[in-house]
Amino acid sequence: MNKAVNPNELTSDDDYGPLYAARKKVYPQSVHGTFRRIKWGLMAFCLGVYYFLPFVRWNRGLGAPSQAVLIDLPNSRFYFFFIELWPQEVYYFTGLLIVAAVVLFLMNSVGGRIWCGYLCPQTVWTDLFYAVERFVEGDRRDRMMKDKSAGALTLRRVSEIVLKNFIWLLIAWWAGGAWVLYFSDAPTLVKQLLTFQAPMVAYIWIGILTATTFVLAGYLREQVCTYMCPWPRIQAALTDEWALNVTYRYDRGEKRTSVKKAAELRAHGEQVGDCIDCYQCVAVCPTGIDIRNGPQLECIQCGLCIDACDNVMTRIGRPKRLIGYDNDINIQRRQEGRAPIYRIVRPRTIVYSAIIAAVGGIMLYTLATRSLLDVNVLHDRNPVAVRLSDGSIRNAYTVRLLNKSGYDRVIAIDANGPVNATVHVVGIDSVTPDRPMIVIPRDSTSELRLLVTAPADGNPEKSIPVRFHVTDIGLGEVASATDNFVAP
């Protein structure tokens, strides 16, 4: 049996520590500075887009939704400003996901976890919730004191807690509310929601997202980043030695000592660091870490410690950016007395940018050139071919015509393949021989049964390609599809 040892006398190696440590509540202090301003700006932008985008109108003409961004599930259409996507075009989302992923890689290779620090919804809402908390309960010191004296629940304290949670709930509720507005006409849905006429699914989704926003941003906070989110692991692996990360420049900061002592030692010509061990960087950190311990998983690289440290450096008359965006290479170089180098254009960033440009370019090209008239053909499989009484051969096809435009079309159908073949559409008495015509209403599809009959002679034994052309009689627009004509 081991002798009991006082833990304070022990040195522990963090690498072998437990995977989970009991939560220590974090009380981030308010801070002013460049990165704080960037964070406020990005927060306003992200939340502004999320909360107000559904209300942006876009005129698409009569009968079409006039909402700029709309996911119309019942009619399976996706509207994004001038773009209207049909279900069979979801590959655009694949492209979008690829671009999004590579943009994340690029951000990572340039500036580390920019996503985590500034753009991630968890960060943005948690930051907003902290602002509310600070407004209601006061700054770091006040909150710590109030939590310590939790036993003394005065009326004032209770009303503070209630108020804070109420404001949080309002924000969370709006987050859920904005979500459902993307799936239905926003003004109409708002009216329905207020008069309790909205579909049940809308209320359910608002409830779910209100709850998740409230719990994740209000109570779980940095725990989400540290224990729930897989992204820090991936991002850490994506970062290379050139990426700029929030870094404590220990070459400049060490040895730590007080302002007074530092001045004394400097007067004697001795080497001391700029860090005065004031713990401001730790006090403002939303994940409660000490950046001076080097890069760590919990660090979301939001830059607030940079602001805090800069403020202190200004006050004690030392140069700013003792903590700043930097990389290990430069710390090494400075120690060796060489000038730091920053390299944003590197093979890695070039490749990422090229991928983004390529995929984006392909998407833009296909979007610009995509046709608003389309035809899909499916050959009957059972039977693939039929011998008619006069010996001729008939193949049947299911033809789907897609009119993605905002107007009705008159379409003529031709089939080029077997020699002297005739085309017949079931249900249509064709005026023009062998060229059936049909009207397809705007923004809809028509499924037709098409019979192609070829005389027995003059056609090869097995299988020959047959090309279907559908032509808009009015506009001359053509779409085509190829299939096979098979002999029995």
């Binding site: 081991n2 059972n382 249900g427």
Partner: protein
């Protein structure tokens, strides 16, 4: 789990639980509080679930749950809703004449969809899932119709069947000329070859066309008509075309003439409702593009 009084692991500096196995001690590393709370909530949820929904198996049944939920009842409701949703279209089908259904693209699409489903359930065992047929079971995709290929004729065949026992069923059958002793074996071979010659197929060595024609005129014309063109009234097939229900080779023809043929198409009246039979007629008619 609480810290074991004053005991710490010297390597990590963490408290232990006091549990020891062969000298190895367990560190006190509790799960995150939120994780534990979530776990307890799932237990509470499960208990609520047992009460609200059917859950526990009993000897001959199960607990019913306070909501009275039943997936079987839900299915019945969904099926009823489906019928209601279809109701309008089904009424329209019943009220529209066969010819007009094909002229209305929406109704045609509905009739085809309905017909296809019902065909799969009722007709596919004989005619095949794509109605390609088989030996003795007509291919419904071609343009050859034993009992006529107009919409009305198809509907009549579906409704009453052929040799089905229904009072209005199609009647008429291929007689067994050999079995009944009407024709001698060599006469059967001759007429079989004659029938092959009608549709341009090759004939056997030493085939006497004049003799075949005479036998055919004496025995077959009554049903198959002059020149073997067939008669839809009797379900007598056209022998001059390229489509053969039982096969066109000599042996098969000899068998057909000797033994006779009398395939049965069941009557569907009474088994399917009138609107569905209509939908079937439209579907079958559209398979071959109609006549």
């Amino acid at each position: 789990m609480t810290d074991h009084q004053g005991e710490f692991d010297p390597v990590s500096g963490r408290s232990t639980t006091g549990h020891e196995w062969d000298g190895i001690k367990e560190l006190n590393t509790p799960l995150p509080r939120w994780w534990v709370i979530t776990f307890y909530l799932t237990i509470v949820w499960a208990i609520g679930y047992w009460i609200v929904y059917p859950a526990w198996p009993l000897i001959s049944s199960n607990t019913r749950g306070v909501l009275g939920y039943s997936s079987r009842a839900n299915l019945a409701v969904e099926l009823a809703n489906l019928e209601t949703a279809r109701g309008e279209k089904m009424v329209a089908l019943g009220a529209t004449s066969l010819a007009d259904i094909e002229k209305d693209p929406a109704l045609l699409a509905f009739a085809r969809a309905r017909g296809r489903t019902v065909f799969g359930d009722n007709c596919a065992p004989c005619h095949g899932s794509g109605a390609a047929g088989a030996k003795g079971f007509p291919n419904l995709n071609d343009d050859d119709w034993l009992w006529g290929g107009t919409l009305d004729q198809i509907m009549q065949t579906i409704q009453f069947g052929a040799r089905s026992g229904h009072a209005k069923a199609h009647e008429g059958q291929m007689l067994a000329f050999g079995k009944d002793g009407v024709l001698k074996p060599d006469e059967i071979v001759t007429v079989a070859n004659y029938v092959r010659s009608l549709s341009g197929l090759s004939t056997g060595k030493g085939f006497d066309a004049a003799k075949g024609e005479k036998i055919f005129a004496d025995n077959c014309v009554a049903c198959h008509g002059d020149g073997g063109k067939g008669n839809p009234e009797l379900g007598a097939p056209n022998l001059t075309d390229k489509i053969w229900l039982y096969g066109s080779d000599e042996a098969t023809l000899i068998e057909t003439i000797s033994q006779g043929r009398a395939g049965v198409m069941p009557a569907w009246e009474g088994r399917l409702d009138p609107a569905t039979i209509k939908a079937m007629a439209v579907y079958v008619h559209s398979l071959g593009g109609g006549k």
